[in-house]
């Protein structure tokens, strides 16, 4: 995903209402076809339960409180893991973008660690932490770290040097230069990192929860599989998709609020 793709997309948010509805036609049609296919027996419910069955399963779990509890646990893990990994990644990105010494000291090491797929560490992480909370948090934080680190670093390094020179000519101190020139200049790239990281955050959590957990959405899906409750399995998958979409939308709103100066976000 290039920077241009990600920043030019929100234009569609500005489109008139009718166009806003258009994007829902295809998903709704798919659900309708799916329902018809299930009811007529074209797709056996052992393979894929009807949307109405999935909704019913969701309703039951909601009433029992199990659904809310599991969503909350997953949400909490995702947020804390994201905060930890994101802050550390951001801090390293800043340090290595602003200081040659820091970059020389740590960048090579970090680039090497980056080449280890973090999910490959699951067996090791289970040995270290058991199936404790810290295992999931560690994996999410590790997964989130790199996109934020790399994009913060890239953002800072690619701030227009002419603007930096301008800031210096006009007597900005280092902290002013950072606040008024470098950080705002790096922000579009930082947001690209955040959006990448959100995707990785959910992916990591799903895998970690299905393999080693005693609560959460992934655990709920694995339990349901053991009892052949395919409607709950499908429900879990759909909720994951929904949460992912929510996180992405939240980051877009934040992006639009902070990058309103950017031509891609302006009303035309």
């Amino acid at each position: 995903m290039s920077l241009i793709d990600s920043i030019s997309f929100p234009r569609s948010f500005r489109l008139p209402r009718v166009d806003g509805l258009i994007q829902w036609i295809v998903p709704l049609a798919i659900i309708a076809i799916w329902q018809v296919a299930s009811v007529t027996g074209f797709v056996p419910t052992r393979v894929l339960p009807a949307p109405s069955d999935v909704a019913l399963a969701g309703w039951k779990l909601l009433l029992s409180g199990e659904l809310v509890r599991n969503i909350w646990v997953s949400f909490w893990r995702a947020s804390i893991g994201f905060l930890i990994g994101g802050s550390v990644g951001f801090a390293f990105g800043l340090a290595n973008g602003l200081s040659q010494l820091s970059a020389k000291l740590t960048d090579t090491t970090l680039q090497m660690v980056r080449n280890v797929p973090h999910l490959a560490l699951i067996p090791l992480v289970i040995l270290w932490f058991g199936i404790d909370e810290s295992a999931k948090l560690f994996l999410v934080a590790l997964g989130v770290f790199f996109p934020i680190y790399l994009n913060t670093l890239h953002g800072i390094r690619t701030v227009d040097p002419q603007l930096i020179e301008m800031g210096r000519i006009y007597g900005m101190t280092d902290s002013e230069l950072f606040r008024r020139v470098i950080f705002p200049g790096a922000l579009p790239s930082i947001f690209v990192g955040i959006r990448f990281a959100l995707g990785i955050m959910w992916l990591t959590l799903i895998v970690a929860e299905t393999i080693a957990a005693s609560s959460g959405l992934g655990y709920m899906a694995m339990q349901a599989r053991e009892f052949m409750l395919i409607d709950v399995v499908v429900l879990s998958i759909l909720i994951y998709a929904l949460l992912g979409k929510l996180a992405d939308s939240a980051s877009r709103v934040l992006e639009r609020a902070t990058l309103s100066w950017h031509p891609a976000f302006q009303k035309r």
Binding site: L163, E165, Y170, G171, P184, G185, Q266
Partner: protein
Amino acid sequence: MQTALRTSLPETELASRANFAPHARVVREERPAQTIGLPLSISGLRKSFGDNEVLRGIDLHIPAGQFVAIVGKSGCGKSTLLRLIAGLDKIDSGSISFGDEVRTEDIRVMFQEPRLLPWARVLSNVEVGLGRDRASKDAHARAEKALTEVGLADKRDQWPSVLSGGQKQRVALGRALVSRPRVLAFDEPLGALDALTRISMQRLLERVWRDQGFTAILVTHDVAEAVALADRVLVIDEGRIAHDVVVNTARPRERGSAELAALEGSILSHLLSADDRT
């Protein structure tokens, strides 16, 4: 013709001219007596980048408040000279001195690119020019005044991205002016503008220079622009000042007048002859 045209002045003559500056005095009498401009003396200035000897001994005196244009073929070192004057690069040898103690706010530069902060509104961009006074109480008022001077008061709350090229350059001019600089250096500030915008910007430059009395040093590749605006045109060739041409035509100048055209022609022929040698 009032125009004095000098070619390849020997150094001694340059030095005596520096103390004397009769032409500049004539020009300055047309302007308000209290000039805030600083005089500028450059002697034996050299600058190389690796093996590339760009400036090979520049000797120059600019009296306070003079409007000097610098022309020369591309790559002859005009920008380099300007950056040295503005203190943006290190001098190899020689010296540049202003007649007075200078603060950083006294010397401002305008580039071909406006270099506005895209994430700051027009008014905040102008406030950047206040330097250390940015935090002062009257910062807003001063920025607004500078914005009015460049005719963009109504754009104060816009993002730079919605402005035209000429408007962006005017914001950059407002930012350069807001600290009341005593020397203003321009590096082809109008180079990227269309012909009509250029002419209105030239008028604006001349007006603010006359109003404020700073010493102006304008690098341009447009000889017509140089003779229309400047008191004096310097031609740089082979790292030295090859010609020092005084433009005595009274202001306001009539663009395209025979007098300016003749001067432009003679400067162009200098530039072309320099080009033939290479």
